[in-house]
């Protein structure tokens, strides 16, 4: 058994532990015995409601969205060969959130329309960033700078959209704008789950080509990878993973940035880096969401606040290390 598999088992175990805590802890604690009754279909009505309808969708979506963000980050970091080249830094989730806000204000708020709007917002933002960064090809550094500035513009736009919305819409959208898993119910999830699972499946089909492209376009082409087409597909999948996640949970930052890097440190090589990035993302978001719910009682923070703080710490650590090196 190789190192990546052992790490994967550890991560899975941690995810399972946190998921257990996630469904059992809270204002109304559920015991392990009650959970077992639930599995056998003998639990009381209120336990069923709390676990299956309130806590389970939140835990499940934290895992799925975390995994999607981890993979999305891994895709962009691989394509751009830069640890800062991640969809949240480039503003793709902010753009997807603009789509969500427009949909909230202009249309009926069905989850299908919100998901579609997030996808359109994300893809448009990616196209815009790419277009602005294009000058006889795209240089990674320029792409990141352009991404950061587009992100800043979109955040201003989002702020304006929220202010001009009705009070009711503004309140819910505002709470959500840092990225939050509060109030997720099964009813909202089907379109997002469908899109995410499809995108994850397609990504797994392209994973091998992605690894080959890390050796340079020429080498990948020599080995039989259709480089341009594969790059376009991978970017589209990366944007879709981020945008669909945003449709449900708002623009959660830094999970996409952090998860692939942690995965890379853990596996120390290239084998299994993508599944590990998914697991790290899932664990990161689940842990951050658990902390957001339980650490600051009686207040419940949006999970995005926790991930942003983690990301800030990470960037400071990165800076300190760079400074020491010089």
């Amino acid at each position: 058994m190789n190192r990546a598999m052992i790490q994967a088992i550890w991560l899975l175990a941690l995810c399972a532990l946190l998921a257990f805590l996630g469904v059992t802890r809270g204002a109304l604690p559920v015991t392990a015995a009650q959970l077992w009754q639930l599995v056998n279909g003998e639990a009381a009505r209120n336990v069923q409601l709390i676990v299956l309808e309130w806590r389970l969708p939140r835990v499940a979506m934290a895992l799925l969205i975390g995994a999607a963000l981890g993979i999305s980050g891994a895709i962009f970091q691989s394509l751009l060969r830069n640890p800062l080249g991640s969809p949240d830094i480039l503003g793709f989730n902010t753009g997807a959130y603009s789509g969500v806000l427009v949909a909230l204000m202009l249309f009926h708020q069905t989850s299908e329309i919100i998901t579609l709007a997030a996808l359109i917002g994300g893809v448009l933002t990616a196209a815009l960033v790419y277009l602005f960064a294009w000058r006889n090809g795209v240089e990674t550094f320029r792409l990141i700078i352009v991404g950061i500035s587009v992100r800043a513009l979109l955040m201003a736009l989002n702020g304006w959209l929220i202010i001009s919305a009705s009070l009711e819409a503004a309140l819910s959208a505002g709470l959500w704008s840092a990225g939050s898993l509060n109030g997720i119910t099964w009813a909202k999830t089907p379109p997002v789950i469908a899109v995410l699972l499809l995108a994850l499946l397609l990504t797994s089909l392209l994973a091998r080509r992605m690894r080959l492209m890390e050796m340079g376009d020429d080498t990948a082409c020599a080995l039989g990878v259709p480089v341009e087409r594969t790059r376009l597909w991978l970017m589209l999948l990366g944007v879709v993973l981020t945008a669909a996640s945003t449709a449900l949970a708002g623009p959660i930052s830094f999970v996409a940035l952090l998860a692939p890097q942690i995965a890379r440190r853990l596996c120390g090589g290239i084998k299994g880096a993508l599944p590990l990035a998914a697991l790290c993302g899932a664990l990161l978001l689940l842990a951050a969401d658990y902390a957001a719910q339980h650490l600051f009682l009686p207040y419940q923070l949006p999970v995005g606040v926790i991930t942003v703080s983690l990301g800030g710490l990470y960037l400071i650590a990165l800076l300190v290390r760079e400074a020491r090196r010089q």
């Binding site: 050796m215 080995l223 039989g224 120390g268 290239i270």
Partner: protein, 266 residues
């Protein structure tokens, strides 16, 4: 009797990039079963020609024919089963081991959900033995010397098991010992395994010594081609490089050896 056409041909190629034309109406035939070396001064278009022949950089006009078919119409994976290529620069992913990198050469032979088959393992082992990297199979590529690393890349291309092999300046960055080792490996591949090789080289004497077919280029045109002993003359070298020289016989390989005259000597 039908005349057998060469497997790899360039037909009336116009080559260039960023609006700069490097070559026009360039036609070239790579003879099967030969070790072809392309020589010429910097910017004569030799690397550009190799990139076009290997479908890395499609020609602006004209077409490259692989087994009589336009290479642009074949799927790139299909091409990769027939034509292997060592580009000028490749990056080894950090942490990858030698055998993992060489195994990537099997990609064009594997189906979408391909399991690792015995024939894949055999090809990898054979490629590592041929390049002398079997002993360091488990080591990370990052920690190897330049010469070892270059041999690992060549092992990856060999694992592709293609009848045609194109190498773009494979001896750059190598010291003289490793250069000769590499050239002799290419000679073995050509003579013992019957592979067709096309190599871009800078060193004229090495080119003359190891090529069975030499193509001399100057500003996008082929000036001469054929066996080194038949085509290398002081006049050709002066035409191609603008360098005055005498030609002597290589005392070991008995191939032509170029000795530049240099300044002030006639």
């Amino acid at each position: 009797m039908r005349e057998k056409i060469a497997r790899l041909q360039g037909d009336a190629l116009t080559l260039g990039y960023d609006k700069k034309i490097v070559a026009e109406a360039l036609s070239v035939t790579i003879p099967d079963g030969e070790l072809t070396v392309i020589i010429g001064p910097n910017a004569c278009g030799k690397s550009t020609l190799l990139r076009a022949l290997s479908r890395l950089a499609p020609p602006l006009k004209g077409q490259v024919l692989l087994d009589g078919e336009a290479i642009s119409r074949l799927s790139t994976k299909e091409v990769a089963r027939r034509l292997g290529l060592l580009p000028q620069s490749s990056q080894a992913p950090s942490g990858i081991s030698v055998s993992e990198l060489v195994a990537r050469g099997r990609y064009p032979h594997q189906p979408l959900f391909g399991r690792w088959r015995d024939e894949d393992e055999a090809a990898v082992q054979q490629a590592m033995r041929a390049t002398g990297v079997a002993d360091i199979a488990a080591q990370p590529v990052d920690q190897l010397s330049g010469g070892q690393r270059q041999r690992v890349w060549i092992a990856m291309v060999l694992a592709q098991q293609t009848p045609l092999l194109l190498l773009d300046e494979p001896t750059t960055w190598l010291d003289i010992t490793h250069q000769i080792e590499l050239l002799e490996l290419m000679q073995d591949l050509n003579q013992q395994h019957g592979r067709t090789l096309v190599v871009v080289l800078h060193d004229l004497n090495q080119a003359c010594r190891y090529a069975t077919h030499l193509i001399a280029m100057r500003s996008g045109q082929i000036v001469a081609e054929g066996r080194p002993s038949e085509i290398i003359t002081p006049e050709l070298i002066e035409t191609v490089y603008g360098l005055r020289c005498v030609i002597v016989e290589d005392p070991v390989a008995h191939t032509p050896m170029i000795v530049p005259l240099g300044r002030g000597r006639n």
